[in-house]
Subunit: 285 residues, 2 copies
């Protein structure tokens, strides 16, 4: 059984609970209270040897650990409120690594208005960090992956093909500006070839990708299949004026759900797929 | 610098944010919305070799991973709503371990009304799991560690000295029944010698411990200093009738903040202290 199969099995075991209203495989879990905004939640790990190397500056690891989660809040048009951080490091790594990690994380927290609400320090054989982020979005208005319609224009923010050493700038203002305008949205965390495939699957549509805006020095291979972009991928009705500083990269079309063509040829979904987030679909209360 | 020093440093680095209203070192972070109940949040790791061994049944690991966090919700008088689970395991561990883990976790989720809202599966060199739990409590009514007064009676639920192989039963109903009655409350996760010291520090009082109810087969050493009880430790005004099935174990007295005596002799805070949760104190909005 592959990971997707396992996750389906876990979902089946878990049944349905009240108050949790979540798009299957969407960027965040949504918790709906009796009134007020919908609450958004996301947890995502940063594991040494998988998401970063020990030789990388701790401040960059800390920045990315929070920013990756904020990118998921952005993808739903949300506003972040707070985070909790569980960090485990080898005993020999020392205090400087931890304080540098937190300096990096807190630099992202400050510019995005995310309060550090708490956390945990522990020891482990390798560096392991889970960041949990809570946010909110106008009730019933979260941007989902599932609303793209044939004919919609397809856009990405920024440029693709980034390497994993850079600073992630979560597209919170852009995501919020898309509320009520974009028909679907997700963040690019596993490469556009795989992520666009997922968006199309969720929306039961196909897509024609015509171009990808690339960072200087990136190869087309990395721009299509790399997993370190943390930009937004979204769709809008074709006649609606898009926000500034985004690039139209193609169109949504009728076709086999999930099928993606690049310049007329089928595009394999080759992005990262080792690590999966899952969300349990259940009824809203 | 020790871990407590590090955590103080992190708190200083992080400054204050709106909306997060948290008792320093208390069991959960509290997120206050514009109206409605206070939201409770907790993240806590389960690390192979630290909190359990690989030889332990995966279902027990899963049960404990969730129940430990629910015990913190119980300690604040809260009601759990949902959890997110980030699980990383070695590649060779296989599907059965994961499904057994989730069966155990979900058995606790079901009986406590906690929805599995999502999570993440990844690979790591050792088993590592972070469970995040969200819950709620009547606005402004959460039980804190900081309200014990000289003269208060001191109680514990259940019996102490449990080993780490058992099933944890988070004391949710008891915690909820203490709302508006207990002057302070916390859960016993690091041994009563250390946890009572912490409660007294937070309340700026001292305590006289007279007895500890012990499980069959436990030594006094383990009942005083063991870290696997997950019972509630709480204080009430002396003339208030306590709930059923709790044991009065002593009294709160004036004295050096944090000082604990057991049968008249100073009691060293020898419980577990390798792993610490911290919460960032900041203003409520």
């Amino acid at each position: 059984m592959n990971e997707l199969g396992l996750i389906e099995k876990i979902k089946k075991l878990s049944g349905r609970g009240p108050q949790i209203h979540v798009g299957i495989g969407d960027d965040c879990a949504i918790h709906r209270l009796k009134s007020g905004p919908d609450q958004l939640f996301k947890i995502d790990p940063m594991i040494e040897g998988v998401h970063f190397l020990r030789s990388q500056p701790a401040a960059i690891v800390g920045q990315r650990a929070l920013a990756r989660n904020l990118s998921d809040i952005a993808a739903m048009g949300g506003t972040p409120d707070f985070c909790l951080v569980s960090l485990a490091i080898p005993a020999n790594l020392g205090e400087k690594w931890i304080t540098d990690f937190y300096r990096g994380l807190l630099s992202v927290a400050r510019v995005t208005g995310t309060a550090l609400a708490g956390g945990h320090l522990a020891q482990a054989g390798q560096i392991y960090c889970d960041v949990f982020v809570g946010g909110h979005v106008r009730r019933g208005k979260a941007l989902l992956r599932s609303g793209a319609k044939p004919g919609d224009a397809l856009y990405v923010s920024g440029k693709l093909g980034k390497s994993w050493t850079g600073r992630i700038r979560p597209r919170l203002a852009l995501g919020q500006s898309l509320l009520g305008r974009a028909t679907s949205c997700m963040d690019l965390s596993d490469g556009i070839s795989l992520d666009l495939h997922r968006l199309c699957l969720a929306s039961k549509v196909a897509a024609e990708l015509e171009r990808v805006p690339m960072v200087r020095g990136a190869t087309l291979e990395r721009a299509l299949h790399g997993g370190e972009d943390y930009e937004l991928l979204f769709t809008m009705p074709p006649r609606m004026t898009p926000p500034k500083d985004v690039t139209r990269v193609g169109s949504i079309v009728k076709g086999k759900p999930g099928a993606v063509c690049f310049r007329g040829e089928p595009l394999a979904a080759k992005g990262h797929d080792h690590f999966r987030a899952f969300h349990n679909a259940s009824a809203e209360s």
